[in-house]
């Protein structure tokens, strides 16, 4: 499907939700739930909790759709942020993160090519971010990956990468500063 058309379909449906249009929420769900379910599974590491989170996400969308501003944010960015936050909340409320195997920077897998997803995200934005991430030091890149995809905290990342907590904080903060500066060029 044409990307812009898909984006405006989602944005238009989001705008109808504050009026109580259930069909509009169903349209948003139909167009976006596979992506958001993938995100929730990736962070939580299993399906049944991801199903609960997905349900919470769309009930949140129903309640908060009026806060979405199509002029300021892409609808997918807004939705994925809600899904990541709900999944992280669930992760923090539960036991320790399942993803605690040591991160070996030398053998860290490189970023994969974009998955064959519903192509809702802008490919150019991804390519630019990818280029900037490649410019980071390997351990910084690995730490950001652990946080973004595995939902690890500072403490968990320090344990997985066998460095003191203060070192991990410095790595991440410095990586974020470099990332911002690279993306602004």
């Amino acid at each position: 499907m044409d990307l812009d058309a898909n984006r405006s379909l989602i944005a238009a449906a989001l705008e109808r939700i504050p009026g109580g249009d259930r069909a509009a929420l169903q349209t948003v769900y139909r167009l976006t739930s596979a992506k958001l379910f993938g995100v929730a599974i990736r962070i939580l590491g299993e399906r049944s909790e991801a199903e609960d989170v997905l349900q919470e996400v769309y009930v949140t969308v129903w309640r908060k759709a009026a806060a979405f501003d199509a002029a300021r944010a892409s609808p997918m960015t807004w939705l994925i942020a809600i899904a990541r936050n709900r999944a992280i909340d669930r992760l923090r409320a539960g036991r320790q993160n399942r993803r605690m195997e040591p991160i070996d920077v030398a053998h860290e897998v490189a970023d994969t090519a974009p998955a064959a997803d519903s192509a809702l995200e802008n490919a150019q934005d991804h390519a630019r971010l990818h280029g900037c991430l490649e410019g980071l030091v390997a351990h910084e890149h690995a730490a950001l990956r652990g946080a973004f995809f595995d939902g690890n905290t500072y403490d968990e990342l320090a344990e997985r990468m066998k460095v003191p907590l203060g070192t991990m904080k410095s790595w991440i903060r410095r990586a974020m500063i470099k990332l911002k500066s690279c993306l602004e060029q």
Binding site: R22, I80, R92, F149, M176
Partner: protein
């Protein structure tokens, strides 16, 4: 190697926004970021900017189709739709139709609408040949017209079509009607401004599928003026 504490290019608040979006905060730190997000518009803007920067990374995550029970659970968790139910309940209208009490149908509709709408509904009794064929009620707020069949018998070869005839006398097609049950039509937005008091509703008999020309082609079996109660 540069000083690792050199954060000069980003304020503490912006670093907190970045950490929050990345997801590395836990416990009190995450709660503090969420509180700030609620009450500090500047911080909220920083969070939105970091979401914009990092979210494209999620493109690497493959889609996974959720099982159908997830949508069912969501639909069940939503509040009941406002003003649905009785108004759209076919059984309700059928019950009234079976009673054969047109007056009751009108009364029921208006009592119901009156209880829910501050705006007065418009009603037209569509009559022709000495009998009432349909009763139409317009809900201007929702932009819909409900048409209940009264003394109208189905014609095997032709279908009843509803027209709106405003002051200019030109009929606008609203939709096809049924002899056996009420029909709820959404008034096309371009005609909504003309669905006002004293405009006329008319029903003509048209070939299956409706008038091919956009204007009535068959006999007009009834007309009625829109009035407010």
């Amino acid at each position: 190697m540069t000083d690792i504490d050199d954060h000069s290019s980003m304020s503490e608040d912006e670093l907190l926004a970045a950490e929050y979006v990345l997801g590395v905060l836990a416990g009190a730190d995450r709660a503090a970021a969420e509180r700030l997000l609620q009450r500090d518009a500047k911080f909220a803007a920083m969070v939105a900017a970091w979401e914009q920067r990092l979210t494209p990374w999620a493109r690497e995550i493959a889609d996974v189709s959720p099982p159908p029970q997830v949508w069912e659970a969501i639909a069940a968790a939503l509040p009941a739709p406002p003003r649905a139910g009785l108004w759209e309940s076919l059984a309700f209208w059928r019950g009234l139709a079976l009673a054969g009490a047109l007056a009751a149908a009108c009364l029921g509709a208006f009592l119901y609408l009156g209880a829910l709408n501050r705006e007065q509904p418009l009603v037209a009794t569509i009559e022709g040949g000495g009998s009432r064929a349909f009763v139409a009620t317009i809900d201007a707020k929702r932009g819909t017209v409900a048409v209940v069949p009264a003394a109208f018998s189905a014609d095997p070869t032709r279908v009843p079509e509803l027209w709106l005839i405003p002051a200019d006398g030109k009929p606008r097609p609203l939709g096809l009607l049924r002899a056996d049950r009420p029909v709820f039509i959404t008034i096309p937005p371009e005609f909504a401004a003309q669905a006002v008091r004293d405009a006329v509703l008319a029903v003509s008999l048209e070939p299956p599928g409706g008038s091919p020309t956009g204007a009535p082609t068959g006999p007009v079996i009834g007309t009625g003026k829109l009035t407010s109660l």
